[in-house]
C-alpha cells in the first residue's frame, strides 16, 4: 500500500492507514540505525534539497542524516529571512532548484501555506519541515512513534499539549495526527496562548497544569518563546514557571506514571525543570533518534512512489 499523497504538507486529512504505514516503515529504519553501517541504497540517485528559510539546525540535520542514510544526494539551501525582502523571490528560487533536476524538496518557512505554494510551483515531492505556526508533520509523526514505542498504543490514550499552542507548528500537527489515531487530545496553557476556537477541533482546554498532569497519560510540552514580542502573551517567566512549568514535585504530587515529550530545544527552568528534563519520565532524546527514522520513512515512501 503506497501513501495516498505525493507530498507531506501537514497531518490534517492524512488517513489513518498512511500514518500507520509511516510508523511501521520507521520501525524498519530504526533497526538500520542500530547497525554498525547505517546506510541503505534505497534512494540512490535521488536528489533532495533542504530548503530552509528559517534557522532550524536540528530539524535540518535530522532530515540531512535521514537523506544520507537512504543514500540520497542531500543539498542544503539556506536563505536567511532577513535577506528575503531584497533577494530573489521564492518562486524564482524554486524554479531554479527545479531546473537542477531535484526529486524532493524539504521546506521550512516562517509563513504558513508556503509548502502548499511550492506544490503549485514545481513537480518535486514536497515535505513540510514546518510552516509558520501551521504544521510540522514529521515532528508529530515522531511524537506518535515515540509514544507508541513507549506505551504500545495510541488509541484511547490521553495526550495533553502544554504551552504556547497559538505560536506552535507542532501543536496542530499533533492534534490532527493523534485524533486520527484515536487518542483523546487536550491543550493546556495560558489563555492568551490558546488559539481562537481550537475547541472546535474536538480538543479540551485545560488551564490548570495539575489537572493536565492528573488527567493525561502523555504530556507533549512545547517550547516557550522568550523573545520580546512573544512576551506580550504572558506576564513574566516567573509567573509562567509557577503556574505552567513542570517540575518533579508537581509530577509526584499529582501522578507518577506519565510520559513527557518535548520537541526541543528546551528552555530549562521554564517549561521543564531540569529534574524533569533529565528525569525518568521524559523521552526527549529518544524523540531525536526516532526523528531520523521517521524522516527516513517519509522520504522513502514519497521518494519511491513514482
Amino acid at each position: 500500500m503506497p501513501l495516498s499523497s505525493r507530498h507531506l504538507l501537514g497531518m490534517q486529512n492524512v488517513p489513518k492507514e498512511d500514518i500507520q504505514l509511516i510508523l511501521d516503515t520507521a520501525n524498519t529504519f530504526k533497526e538500520i540505525l542500530d547497525r554498525p553501517i547505517k546506510r541503505v541504497p534505497t534512494l540512490q540517485g535521488k536528489t533532495v534539497v533542504n530548503l530552509f528559510y528559517e534557522n532550524s539546525t536540528r530539524t535540518r540535520i535530522s532530515f540531512e542524516l535521514a537523506e544520507k542514510r537512504l543514500s540520497a544526494d542531500a543539498v542544503n539551501f539556506s536563505v536567511s529571512t532577513s535577506s528575503v525582502s531584497k533577494g530573489e523571490s521564492l518562486k524564482d528560487t524554486v524554479k531554479n532548484i527545479e531546473a537542477m533536476k531535484v526529486d524532493m524538496i524539504v521546506i521550512r518557512h516562517s509563513v504558513a501555506g508556503t509548502p502548499l505554494m511550492l506544490t503549485k510551483l514545481c513537480d518535486s515531492n514536497i515535505i513540510n519541515a514546518g510552516d509558520g505556526v501551521h504544521e510540522h508533520p514529521t515532528q508529530a509523526l515522531l511524537d506518535l512513534y515515540t509514544i507508541r514505542e513507549k506505551i504500545g498504543k495510541l488509541e484511547n490514550l490521553k495526550v495533553c499539549i502544554v504551552g504556547d499552542i497559538a505560536h506552535s507548528r507542532v501543536a496542530l500537527s499533533n492534534i490532527f495526527a493523534l485524533k486520527t489515531m484515536g487518542a483523546k487530545v487536550s491543550v493546556c496553557g495560558p489563555s492568551t496562548m490558546i488559539p481562537k476556537q481550537i475547541e472546535e477541533l474536538g480538543v479540551d482546554i485545560i488551564y490548570s497544569i495539575d489537572e493536565a498532569i492528573q488527567e493525561n497519560d502523555v504530556l507533549n510540552v512545547l517550547r516557550i518563546q522568550l523573545e520580546r514580542k512573544a512576551r506580550e502573551y504572558f506576564p513574566s517567566i516567573r509567573e509562567y514557571v509557577k503556574y505552567f512549568g513542570i517540575n518533579s514535585e508537581r509530577l509526584e504530587k499529582n501522578k507518577k506514571d506519565i510520559l513527557i515529550l518535548h520537541p526541543g530545544p528546551i528552555n530549562r527552568g521554564v517549561e521543564l525543570a531540569s529534574d524533569v528534563a533529565d528525569g525518568p519520565y521524559q523521552v526527549i532524546l529518544q524523540q531525536v533518534t526516532n526523528g531520523v527514522a521517521i524522516r527516513m520513512a517519509v522520504l522513502y515512501l514519497l521518494g519511491t512512489l513514482n
Binding site: 490534517q12 528575503v84 525582502s85 523571490s89 521564492l90 518562486k91 518557512h109 516562517s110 509563513v111 504558513a112 501555506g113 508556503t114 502548499l116 505554494m117 510552516d131 509558520g132 505556526v133 501551521h134 504544521e135 507548528r169 496542530l172 488559539p195 481562537k196 476556537q197 481550537i198 472546535e200 477541533l201
Partner: protein, 429 residues
C-alpha cells in the same frame, strides 16, 4: 452622436420609474427623446435594439484605487476607467493612497486632467491628513475647490481621535464626508480573520474587534461633531449592528460593503491564494448573514469594490508577504446580481440604490434622470446573461482576482456618459 436605443426596460427609483419597451434617442450626450415606440429612423444614424435589457442611472464605485500617480505598472487612470466602463460604472471615486498622496490641489488637478475626456468620471477622494500620516489636516477647502469629493486616509484609519475630531469638524463646514478604513492600528498585524480558520491555517489572525473598535469610535465622533462619516468596506457583523443603531439615532453615518465580503468567507483561505488576502479580511458566514440583512434594511447604503490592483510579482509571494487587495471593478456588478438579486436578497430597484443613488448622494453628486433634455448618464444591464469571469480579458492592468473562472448570472453590457457610449466591449459613440 445620434443614437436610437430601442426596447429597453428603464428603471430609475429616484423618479419612481419602471417602464418596459422604452426607446431613447440620444443626441450629443443628451436624452433628446424618451418614450415608447419612437420612430426616428431617418434622424438617427444608429439604431440599437436592446430588447430585454435594463437601463439604470449610471452606476458609481466610490472606493477604487487607481494607483496613478505612483504605480502606473499596476493601474493607470486610463486603464482603471476602462475597467470601470467594462464593469458598468460611469463614475468612480479614487482613493488617495497614491504616490504622491492625494493631499494637495495639484494632485487633484493632475487626476482631473488625466480623466478629462474619459467616458468615466473620476472623483478624487483626498487624504484627510497630510501624507495620510495622521498629524496635520490637509487643505480641505482648497481640495474641495479642486474637485475632491470626500476625505480619507484609506489604507489606515485616521490615526488618533484628536486629529479625527479636527478632520470631522473641518469637513463638516464644507459638507464633505470622512471615509474611514476602520482598523485599530495596534491590532492590525494579521493576514486573515481570527477564528477557527486562522487556527486551522496557521496564519496570523486579524480580529474583527479591530474593525469594531474604530467603527464605534468614528460613530461616537460623528455624533459628537455632527459631521458625516462613511464606513468603507464594512465586514464585521458587530460593526454592521453598530451602524444600524447609529442610524436609528440619526447619527450621520453611512456604510459600504464590497462584493467579496458578501460572497466569500475566510474558509476560502485554505488554498492560501494571495488573491484572497484582503483588508479587512474575509470573515465568516455569520458576518455575511448580517451584511445581507443590512443591505436589505438599508443599514448598508452602497456597494463599492475596493478595487486594488497589485502586480503579479507582489501577489506571487508567500502569504504573509503579499499585499492586501483585489481588483473588483469588472466583477462587482456580476457578483451583486448573482449573489443579491438572483438570490432574492435585493430587488433590482434596491440594487440601483446601492450602486447609483445612495453612493452619489454620499459624495454630493446629482442623480442622472431619464428625462428629455437631461445628460445621458446610464448603465445598461443584462440581468440574465450567464458568463464566466476571465481575468486574462480584464481591461484593468492587474489580474489579482479570486473570482477567475467563476460563473456569474447578469452583468453590465454597457454605459453611456459624457457624450460617449460603450457597449459590448466597444465604443459605439
Amino acid at each position: 452622436m445620434k443614437i436610437l436605443l430601442k426596447n429597453l426596460t428603464a428603471i430609475n427609483p429616484e423618479q419612481k420609474l419602471n417602464e418596459k419597451k422604452i426607446d431613447i434617442l440620444l443626441v450629443d450626450g443628451k436624452i433628446a427623446e424618451f418614450g415608447q415606440n419612437l420612430d426616428y429612423d431617418e434622424r438617427s444614424n444608429k439604431i440599437i435594439d436592446l430588447s430585454g435589457k435594463v437601463i439604470t442611472p449610471g452606476f458609481i464605485d466610490i472606493h477604487v484605487h487607481l494607483r496613478e500617480p505612483g504605480r502606473e505598472d499596476e493601474e493607470t487612470i486610463e486603464s482603471g476607467c476602462k475597467a470601470a466602463a467594462v464593469g458598468g460604472f460611469t463614475a468612480v471615486a479614487c482613493m488617495p493612497n497614491t504616490e504622491p498622496t492625494i493631499d494637495s490641489a495639484e494632485v487633484v488637478d493632475f487626476i482631473k486632467n488625466k480623466s478629462i475626456n474619459n467616458i468615466v468620471n473620476v472623483f478624487p477622494v483626498a487624504a484627510a491628513t497630510v501624507g495620510r500620516k495622521g498629524e496635520f489636516l490637509t487643505p480641505m477647502l482648497e481640495l474641495k475647490e479642486a474637485g475632491a469629493v470626500a476625505f480619507s486616509d484609506d489604507g489606515v484609519a485616521i490615526k488618533t481621535a484628536s486629529i479625527l475630531k479636527r478632520a470631522m469638524e473641518y469637513s463638516k463646514m464644507i459638507d464633505l464626508p470622512i471615509i474611514e478604513h476602520c482598523e485599530d492600528e495596534s491590532l492590525a498585524f494579521g493576514s486573515m480573520n481570527e477564528g477557527i480558520n486562522s487556527t486551522l491555517f496557521g496564519l496570523p489572525p486579524l480580529p474583527s474587534v479591530s474593525e469594531d473598535l474604530i467603527v464605534m469610535r468614528d460613530i461616537l465622533m460623528a455624533q459628537y461633531t455632527g459631521a458625516r462619516v462613511h464606513i468603507a468596506h464594512i465586514s464585521s457583523a458587530n460593526a454592521v449592528k453598530m451602524v444600524r443603531e447609529a442610524k436609528s439615532k440619526n447619527i450621520n453615518v453611512t456604510a459600504e460593503v464590497t462584493p467579496h465580503h458578501f460572497t466569500l468567507t475566510d474558509e476560502a483561505l485554505k488554498t492560501y491564494d494571495t488573491n484572497l488576502k484582503i483588508n479587512p479580511p474575509l470573515r465568516t458566514q455569520k458576518d455575511i448573514e448580517e451584511i445581507l440583512l443590512a443591505l436589505k434594511d438599508g443599514t448598508i447604503d452602497c456597494i463599492a469594490s475596493d478595487h486594488a490592483p497589485h502586480s503579479p510579482e507582489e501577489k506571487e509571494l508567500e502569504f504573509d508577504y503579499a499585499p492586501s487587495g483585489i481588483v473588483g471593478l469588472e466583477t462587482s456588478v456580476g457578483l451583486a446580481l448573482t449573489e443579491l438579486v438572483h438570490k432574492k436578497v435585493l430587488s433590482i430597484d434596491e440594487l440601483i440604490f446601492k450602486y447609483s443613488i445612495n453612493p452619489r448622494k454620499i459624495i454630493n453628486l446629482s442623480i442622472p434622470l431619464f428625462k428629455v433634455g437631461e445628460k445621458a448618464e446610464f448603465t445598461i444591464l443584462d440581468l440574465d446573461e450567464i458568463w464566466t469571469v476571465n481575468k486574462e480579458k480584464f481591461a484593468s492592468k492587474s489580474k489579482n482576482t479570486p473570482f477567475d473562472k467563476r460563473l456569474l448570472t447578469g452583468r453590465s453590457i454597457g454605459i453611456c456618459n459624457n457624450g460617449r457610449m460603450f457597449l459590448n466591449g466597444e465604443f459605439v459613440a
